[in-house]
Amino acid sequence: MTELTGWGRYPRHPSETLSPSSPNALPSLMASRTGLVARGNGRAYGDAAIGERVTLMARGLDRIRAFDPATGRIQVEAGVLLSDLLGIVVPKGFFPPVVPGTKFVTIGGMIASDVHGKNHHRDGGFGDHVESLTLALPDGGVVTCSRNENPELLSATISGMGLTGTILDATFRLRPIETGWMRQTTSVARNLDDAIQALQTTSNATYSVAWIDCLARGASLGRSLIFAAEHATQRDLDALQPGAEPYPASKLGRLGVPLDLPAFTLNRLSVSAFNELYFRAGAVKSGYPFLVHWNPYFFPLDGIGSWNRIYGRRGFLQYQCVIPTAQAQAVLGGILERISKHGSASFLAVLKQLGAGHGDLSFPLEGFTLTLDLPVSDDVFPLLDELDRLVVEAGGRLYLAKDARQSPATFEAGYPGLSRFRDLRRAIGATGRVSSRLSVRLGI
């Protein structure tokens, strides 16, 4: 038995762990055990990748099966890390169609969570780009899922949190790029209305995201920096940084956080200072396009090793909700106000525009998503329950890959695809056999 947690280090659950070294080992494991779920690199924040009894550590499935540099089509095993993939394909002039906020995730995890990126409003989630995948079913059968073959199983597996079986490999197309640089434009939004408007007007940009200064109040509530970006072309490079290396080496050196910092280091003052600094540094560059390496643009927090430890031993919760466009301004304003009043501020508050989702349990819907980090404390749970009520009333939902504490009622209200998903689980014999702490908690 091992004690497992997600990236938020809350909750903690004991689980038996098995580490298959080949996809060929999966069918018999699936058929002979119950209460199991696959785990990639453990970057889901809550309890999604902790098996009810058994956790299948999938990192041994880390082979690239095929790569065609002519078309950008790639087939990889599910345990391949996005960071590994980036290191291989970027120097060859390709980039994954969708990347989440960290590169330390597995491809299997990206599919199971149907992760979205800063380009969801234009390109959809990662699941939209999966051409086919191989799935080990609960009874040990192995099937191919694509638009033509087992399409229902494909839609359920994309966003299915590993609850339809274990993904063995997947095939998708990479996008061609001319350089490893991003042409970024930063602008300032004075408040939340401004920020939402700015994200809508920059929605023709391939990538856009807003960082919110959580401590701003009153008329400045929701003041933000908006980062819009494109993959820089060779012409951009010639104009903005003549002579620069088109594929600069990735700076992977990181500043680690080796020990749990005591929770008091994260007081109001330190967070306030951090946000002020961030806000000023960004505002200086406001309006002018400049070049930035893909790594810090997409994965700013990956630069700090175990940043999840700065929240102390009790861990932290990441709260990510999405609110339909029509109500976004009012409801997100309400959420920010309550957070700000509560004073347990977040290092990280990110606002993004999303389009429609793809899978049965996909998180995205047309609207705006807000992401906050909160250290675990006794009074944070009632606060989040209150926020849940606002989200549910507005027809929004919470992201399962981040969740560690929502109630079954909140979950059911947010996910109309749930009954179809449950039916499919019953039909393939997954109910009760393939189960995580998350699926048990939410009654999936």
């Binding site: 690239i64 099966r65 095929a66 790569f67």
Partner: protein, 247 residues
């Protein structure tokens, strides 16, 4: 551009084998992967090809079927420039003490098979007048310990074989390299508690093998240099004390 050199990697499904082959492929070499389990070897071959664009072929070889070495060598598209043998089997010491068949498997897999295979290619390389032979042995062969002397004895034999072969081939300009990885985080050691300072990643071993065989003239390599003084200390303990230690 000169044509790519060719590596024959024996033990192509092991973690060290995979890492070593990948390192050679990244340096522009073509790779012949030999293993008993062809399907798993193909998995590694596909991976190396996709990552590097190198030419990688897969060849079935059971290290215990020493009578098949001739037909195996004939089946290779080209006689390789370097042969690296990473084959090894930790086995179960306690089981081997009671079960002669298991003990024999450990001895043959770690000594007889690898030694005879490298010896076989040594003759081919001598006939051609060039070639490098690399054997992955073990620090466990430096001194026998109660907890793993079957494995250790086989590795000691292999180390002595490589030393003798090197002594014979050096005047002809052929190289023989002995690699002692120390602890490595692999499938073979999964679940063991290993001291981090003494434990290498497979990629580290792969790099060390490539550097030792192709970029230096060193003969015997401890992948992590700290192992040299550690094993020197272990070797210097008088037997009358050593025999009483629980090791």
């Amino acid at each position: 551009m000169e044509p790519s050199k060719i590596l024959l990697l024996v033990g192509g499904t092991s973690d060290i084998g995979r890492a070593t082959a990948l390192h050679y492929a990244q340096a522009g070499w073509h790779v012949q992967l030999a293993a008993r389990n062809e399907e798993e070897a193909r998995r590694n071959a596909d991976d190396i090809r996709a990552r590097t664009g190198a030419e990688v072929t897969v060849h079935r070889l059971d290290i215990l079927e020493t009578g098949d070495f001739e037909s195996f060598a004939t089946s290779l598209p080209t006689l390789p420039d370097t042969v690296v043998c990473v084959v090894g089997e930790l086995g179960d010491q306690a089981k081997g003490q009671a079960d002669t068949a298991h003990a024999s498997l450990v001895l043959r897999t770690n000594f007889e098979g690898p030694a005879l295979l490298l010896g076989f290619f040594a003759e081919r390389f001598l006939a051609r007048g060039s070639g490098t032979l690399v054997g992955v042995s073990s620090v466990a062969g430096d001194r026998g310990r109660g907890s793993n002397y079957l494995y250790g004895a086989a590795k000691a034999g292999f180390t002595a074989f490589l030393s003798g072969l090197r002594n014979r081939l050096a005047p002809k300009g052929l190289r023989v390299v002995t690699i002692k990885p120390g602890f490595v985080r692999t499938q073979m050691t999964a679940g063991m508690k290993l001291p981090p300072v003494l434990t290498a990643e497979p990629s580290e071993v792969g790099r060390a093998i490539f550097t030792a065989a192709e970029k230096s003239s060193r003969d015997v390599i401890y992948v992590r240099p700290i192992w040299r003084p550690v094993m020197m200390a272990v070797g210097s303990i008088p037997e009358r004390f050593f025999k009483r230690l629980r090791l």
